[in-house]
Symmetry: C2
Subunit: 354 residues, 2 copies
């Protein structure tokens, strides 16, 4: 298996990216790693011991920064590391690409390359959200993301790719999210819920109501639990939560904001005033903060691409990059895309206008 | 001042509703209360001491239940307490109405009555969200909602009325939210943010991009801080957060879900294992849970109506109802609607199609 890693993408790139990549090579015997970026910069971090026959360098001269406007930067910097990763994937020279760089550029690169799976309309980003242990999810000690402690997870899709989707796009996100959940949550029959403002079929805006109809009459109907509400996500009411990228983005960032807000209250009002047990309580608080730190997660796949594409948080450290390469390897090994293609073929033909 | 209270609406109605109403009469000397509902049921809870000259009964025979389909129920039960409240407001027999009944019926009643403020396109629900003490918000000890402890608040609008809004609706929500924030947050110049997926003007779905343009070129431009993201809400980055009802509903319910999720982790992993200080820590945890219990808040106004309309959570207790009547009284006394009408008049004429 061959994976391209964007060595130039990430807040602290290239050092933690390269070290995470080397760790992944050491832990995955069949992994062939292609480091994409500036050769001189990369080599200055490669004066370490590693299996040189399994690490290649793909030299390119440009980098898209985190604050670059994605489309403009891709046009002005044609030799940037993200576009080169996409090129390697499009030419089938690698099975997967991984980047902690500019998310907009990663998504834009995928839309530009247009190497979508057959029948797939729009790629979507899937991400994991922590949930209470209500469902029979396996604990994430078995989870390739390996960072959620003893809690379970659900898949949220679309978390950021498609801001004005059609109902058929959301139906296809359900299909892809379900297959992704099978692999990462290790569940045989993941359930799918449509995020909405109430449980009844008639609830919601126009997009939600039309999407409900589509799911209800689709080959996925048996896995579809209907509408779920905002409070159901963290309760683990279903394994896959389908929504548009606007709402998905709000969910991710709001969860982060509420978590931060409450943990500050807990630190100030519960932990700080304790006369005897303050240290113990503080350590327990730190463990919770660390477990749900969205930045340490191992990346989110852009699903629907012919090939595997993992987008990591800009602040990914060495371990997060290693995790992302493990996830990428698992998705390739599990033939995720073959399963998605089989499911997509079962869908009736629906135009974007429907 | 005359306020109609839907005595039949609420999970435990009519008892806590009526008792909350009587408390409000006792604490607001100028309040004339109209209890709307079944006379016999209401009178069975009125065998207490109260100023009888300031409490009237408006008898009606029907009630819309929490799980009734709002529009169907309003058609089949024409003599229901919610429709009667709206009738009293439309006929200017009361200045305000308050209900903890079926939210859909309350909103539907407002849309049906169509007694909107001049130039107002669609009413919207404003609600308060707790925020960190970043801004100079007054502490909510001065807050008519009186339940947010030492934290500050921001106004979220629309929290549930208008699921498929146009940009002009969201601009008008900004106008109304700002005037509401002046009253409840006691700030002279509240700032307005548009909820979006990133800070740049070009970000977002079509609705968000068009709405940004409208705000940017409106008489509100000086109060408009631009786009805010999900994580900014609880950080208190602005005083008024404008969004559509779909996203607003997700925000409210997701906040509730994340809060519940985290507080369980805190109870299990921080508080329960403490050897000496467990009781103290548990009491501090209970105080936080109580403070942010969304059910104890004093209700959310449906803004844009000619008259004041407050919608309360179904689980509102006596104190929540009393709070809601206090809020309603404050909004009437502060001439909230006159201020909104003045602001709306400054807007250029924009059709719904724009």
């Amino acid at each position: 298996m061959r994976i391209a890693l964007d060595a130039m993408g990430g807040d602290e790139a290239p050092k933690p990216i390269i070290l995470g990549g080397i760790q992944a090579v050491l832990s995955q015997p069949e992994l062939q790693l292609v480091l994409v970026g500036d050769r001189a910069q990369m080599e200055s971090h490669l004066n370490i011991d590693y299996p040189k026959d399994r690490v290649e360098i793909f030299h390119c001269t440009q980098t898209i920064d985190m604050h670059d406007s994605p489309l403009e930067a891709m046009r002005k910097k044609p030799d940037n590391s993200i576009s080169r990763c996409w090129q390697l994937l499009a030419e089938k020279k690698v099975d997967a690409i991984v980047s902690a760089g500019n998310t907009g550029a990663m998504v834009g690169g995928g839309f530009k390359a247009r190497k979508f799976l057959p029948k797939l309309r729009r790629p979507g980003i899937a991400t994991l959200m922590p949930t209470a242990n209500l469902s029979s999810n396996n604990p994430s000690s078995n989870n390739p993301l390996g960072s959620a402690g003893s809690t379970s997870s659900c898949v949220l899709i679309d978390a950021g790719a498609n801001l004005d989707p059609k109902p058929i796009h959301l139906l296809q996100y359900g299909i892809m999210g379900r297959r992704y959940a099978q692999t990462v949550l290790q569940k045989e029959n993941p359930t799918i819920g449509l995020l909405n403002v109430g449980e009844e079929a008639s609830k919601g805006n126009e997009l939600a109501r039309k999407t409900y109809e589509l799911f209800h009459n689709s080959p996925l109907a048996d896995s579809f639990v209907g509408n779920v509400e905002g409070r159901d996500i963290h309760r683990g009411k279903c394994d896959v939560v389908v929504t548009d990228a606007f709402v998905g983005n709000v969910i991710l960032k709001l969860s982060e904001g509420v978590f931060e807000f409450i943990m500050k209250r807990v630190a100030e009002e519960i932990v700080a005033p304790l006369p005897s047990d303050r240290n113990q309580a503080y350590q327990a608080l730190q463990r919770i903060v660390h477990r749900y730190d969205y930045r340490t997660f191992g990346g989110a796949p852009l699903l629907g691409i012919d090939g595997i594409c993992i987008i990591c948080h800009g602040s990914s450290d060495q371990r997060a990059i290693q995790n992302a390469l493990t996830v990428a390897g698992n998705l390739v090994r599990n033939h995720l895309n073959d399963k998605i293609v089989t499911d997509l073929a079962l869908l009736p033909d629906i135009s974007d206008e429907d």
